[in-house]
Each structure stands twice: as C-alpha cells, then as structure tokens.
Symmetry: C2
Subunit: 309 residues, 2 copies
C-alpha cells in the first residue's frame, strides 16, 4: 500500500523535482496539494496546509517545499495531526525551529526527514569513499551561479531569513559535512550584502576542522558565463574534484563519475523518506544550517551594489 | 584535596568575579594564569595557554574568560591535555565550536562546564518555581545598559563575532531558557548596527514557543540613566518581574527576593564546576547561543549612528 502524500508549496522546485519524483515512486500517491496561488491537476487542492490536513483526513505524510520561513508552522501542524513530514532545504527559518520539530516528531512517534538533496547527487558517495582512504591536507569550495538564471523573481531569497547566496551555498555545506569524515566549523567569514537587500549576494568562509584542516569556500550569486558548483579536496597522495553540484567526480584528474546534474537526487530523497516512514525513524542533520547561522553570527558584513531581483 | 586551577584571560571579569570566587572556594587552588598582558600576584604567569599547559603539568582544570573568539583553541588544547574546562559566556565564537568541544570532552572523559552566570543569580530559582505553577500568557524582556559604563574600551565586543548588545542580552536569554519550561525560538528580529561597527548596538526579538506564547525582547547598549535588566512573565492569574539581572523578584507587585546584583553568581558557578568535576559529568546548554545565532541569521539589519568605543 502506498503512502498518501500531501505536497505543500507548489513552486518551481515542486514542479521541477518533487512532483515527477513522487509520480515515479510506487510507494507514494500524491493525493493533495496546498498552495496559496497554484493548483496541481488530478489531486485535491487547498489554499493552506491547515485546510488540507482537516479535509483529507487519511493523509499519511506531507512534503514541504515552501520558502523556509513557512516550514515550521506547516511541519508542526502536520506532526500534531499525526503525519510523517519531509522538509525541503533549507530546513526552516532558524536552527532552533529544527530542534523543536525534531522533539515534536519524537513526541508523536512520526518520521521527520530533514533533507539535503545534494547529498543524493550521483558522485557524492564515491567522493565519500575516496575521502575515507585519504589523508586530507586542505580543500576549496567554489559555488558560483547566476541568481537571475536560477532563481528568477524569487524575492523571498532576499528578505530577512531568506539566506541569499547561502540558499545554494548550503548545498555545498551539506555535501562537505557528508563526505568530510571530520567536523568543520566557521573560523572567519565575510558576507556581502547588496545595499537594497537583507540577504548576502556573496560570501567567503574560512572553514576549519578540529584537526586543523582548512577549507576555503566562496559563494557568489553574480556569476556570469560558466556556472560553478565545485568542491576540491586535497590529500597527501592525490586530489578529488566534485563538480556540477556533485554529479561529476574527478580523482587525480581522471573523470570517474559524469552524470546529468541533479540526476536521481529527488528519487533518492523520496526512496529514503519511504524507508524512514516504514522503519519509524527520523533523519535530521542540521550541521550545514548551523554553519550558515554561524557565518551570519561572526561574519564581517560588507555593503555592495544594489541587486534587482 | 583541592583542584589545581589555571585561569585563562585576565581582564575585568577575571578580577571582578573569577579570582575572588576561586579564592573563596576551598575546592580550588589557583596556581597559574595565562594572559598576553596581565599578571596575577602569587601564581605562575604565562603569556598563553599552551605554555601554561606545558609548564604546569599537574593542573587539574582550567577556567577560560578570554573574549569568546579565543575560547575554542584554549578549550581544545586543555581538553586534549586532559584538563577539565569551564567556559565563561558567551561560550565560543560559534555554535558549532561548542558542539565540537562537547564531543572532545566526552572523548577525553573530562568535564566541560559551559556556564551561564546569570542562571545563578539569587532570584532565578524562585522565578522558575513560580513559572512551574503558572499558565503563562506572554512576557517581555528589557535589557538596556550603557555600554560605556559597563564595557569601557572593550573593542572585541564590536568586532565581527563580538556579539555587541547580545553580550549582555544572552544573559537574559540564558535566564529565560532556564525558567520558561517551554522551548523558545526567534520568530523575527531587528538588529541595529552602528555604521562603523560589526556588531549590533540594539536588537528587538520576537520570541515564540511551540505553544504560541509570545515574548518580546528589547536589548539596547545606549541606555542612559536607569539601567534595566528585567524579565516580566504574565500568567493567567498573576505576574512575575525578575529585575536587576535576576537579583530581585516581584510576584504580583510584591517584592519577594531583593539581593545585591550578581551576588553569589560566580560562587555558584565554581561550586557547580567542582561538583561536575567530581562526578565526571559535563554541563553544556547552547540554546541561548543558538537563539543569538538565529537572530543574526534572520534579523533585519538596520544601520544606525556611529558608535565610539
């Protein structure tokens, strides 16, 4: 029997990734959607999550892909109604909200799956395997994309709490924390805020590990021409380059994985969600989000040219 | 037998609070200090913590009261040298650093006591008792002091990572999280940054709990005249006012605790540290620090007049 699923937040990521992945997975049946403005054909549509939960009483689970500012209230309502919950990244508006949702899921005996889709990119597991046998000496992250191309008109990214360039940048941090095999923290940071916006358009992070490893990260939302989502890790006897957001992997200059960008990421997320629901377990890892909060906490703020969304 | 203690960071808080509290507690003997510039009479003095750890091999514990940017390296070195560690607030530069130190203490079987001195203020336990029998309906925090009076010349407060007005404000959050009996998170925030500094001089937080309780907090470092460190909590059948940083308590307008400010706070901290060392346990609660990081993460930033330290 498949899980009756409600999808909350019908925007670009819902249509590009969630709806096709759900349709392809026999363990889920999409039966309802909640969105202020959008409708999905062939399912029950509601203006908000509270109405959806009240009207479709046999829902088993909901998947939330609204902007992060709305995650907490939707997830809390769903968990209290006894539903399993999957959260798109970034997981919520604040790190405390995730801690509270984790407690709430445990209290109700329901699954909370706080997702990082980039961890399901095709080359990530091979990168992790390489790191396990390497002695790392350092690394760099370059995550540079054109926000006008990838996030047209998304003002929520630029409002207070919208994360700006950390919205893609957190994908890099989710991969790094997954493959590194050591705990990273932010030693220093510089954040560039457009003079007319509340979120940074670029950031540089000096990340460290307890063992003294240094990883420099550069995030930029103003990239023209080639778009770059690369993580390089240097070992004592070789080097790794994970590129195109985790879909390609070079080891010592040799291409060992080369797949289409985002291939299988959302299929992997929904497969994991089904497993977690069946096992009655949750999966929550807010370390990448903490790194972002810490960058805001200690980052030097610089004001740069205005940005038009 | 008393614990041989090293004190790291000899500034105003060390001389005003730590050294007298240690001298009055027979469970500790202050045998060494580490400070770049200052010396303490009657003990071995070192320029840095690494030298102190190397030269005074029979130290049992160290207490760290440097600016928070230096906590992590000092604590890590001490834990790795097998010492118990007590950390002054704010606990470190970032929330991830605390998580890592917690892991490190467990790995070495040593005590990590991450302190919040305001929780040891004379009226806090009575406030907690009142909250336990109350049905709360809301609350306010006013934490307003003159930075020139209380932190003269302390530029580290204003550098990136220095926390600004959250340095005192986190004391209010440490009391709130101790007495509230429910989990709070930051719903909205406004941070006011002087145009020439990297840390906020004032902040307003809209705090909520899962149960929908609203607590409004106002922090301000520009307060002239009466200095205010007040938490008010309203219940269905009464109200509480914790004032002067937790040293006075009114319930329904009646003064029930009235003690000198900070009385017993550091005596209480060192007594707890001795108990934790004896029991082989750690005490770490970074929720107040997470609330601050979350306020930086989602806070609307406003630029205000320059501030001269």
């Amino acid at each position: 029997m498949s899980l009756k699923l409600g999808l909350v937040g019908i925007g670009k990521i819902a249509r590009d990734q969630h709806i096709p992945a759900i349709a392809a997975d026999p363990r889920f049946s999409l039966v309802a959607c909640a969105s202020r403005n959008a409708r999905v054909d062939g399912v029950a549509n509601f203006a908000d999550v509270a109405t959806m939960l009240a009207e479709v009483s046999d829902l088993d689970a909901i998947s939330i892909c609204t902007p992060p500012q709305a995650h907490f209230d939707a997830a809390l309502a769903a968990l209290r109604a006894g539903k399993h919950v999957m959260l798109e990244k970034p997981p919520a508006a604040t790190t405390r909200e995730i801690a509270l949702l984790q407690d709430e899921a445990a209290r109700h005996g329901r699954t909370l799956f706080q997702t990082w889709h980039s961890r399901f990119a095709p080359a990530v597991s091979a990168a992790r395997d390489w790191v396990r046998q390497a002695t790392l000496t350092g690394g760099t992250i370059h995550w540079k994309e054109d926000v006008h191309q990838w996030h047209p008109g998304q003002q929520w990214l630029w409002d207070a709490g919208g994360l700006g360039v950390f919205d893609p940048g957190i994908n890099a941090l989710s991969i790094l924390t997954e493959v590194l095999g050591a705990e990273a923290f932010v030693r220093q940071a510089v954040l560039e805020f457009p003079e007319n916006q509340q979120a940074p358009i670029a950031a540089r992070l000096d990340l460290r590990t307890e063992a003294g490893l240094v990883i420099d990260a550069e995030f930029d939302f103003r990239q023209k021409g080639e778009q770059v989502w690369d993580i390089e890790l240097h070992g004592a006897t070789g080097r790794l380059r994970l590129s195109r957001g985790g879909s390609a992997l070079e080891i010592d200059g040799r291409l060992v994985v080369d797949r289409p960008a985002m291939e299988g990421e959302y299929a992997g997320l929904y497969a994991r969600f089904a497993e977690l629901c069946a096992a009655g377990r949750s999966e929550v890892d807010w370390r990448p989000f903490q790194l972002v909060a810490d960058a805001f906490l200690i980052g030097e703020r610089r004001t740069v040219a205005a940005h038009q969304v």
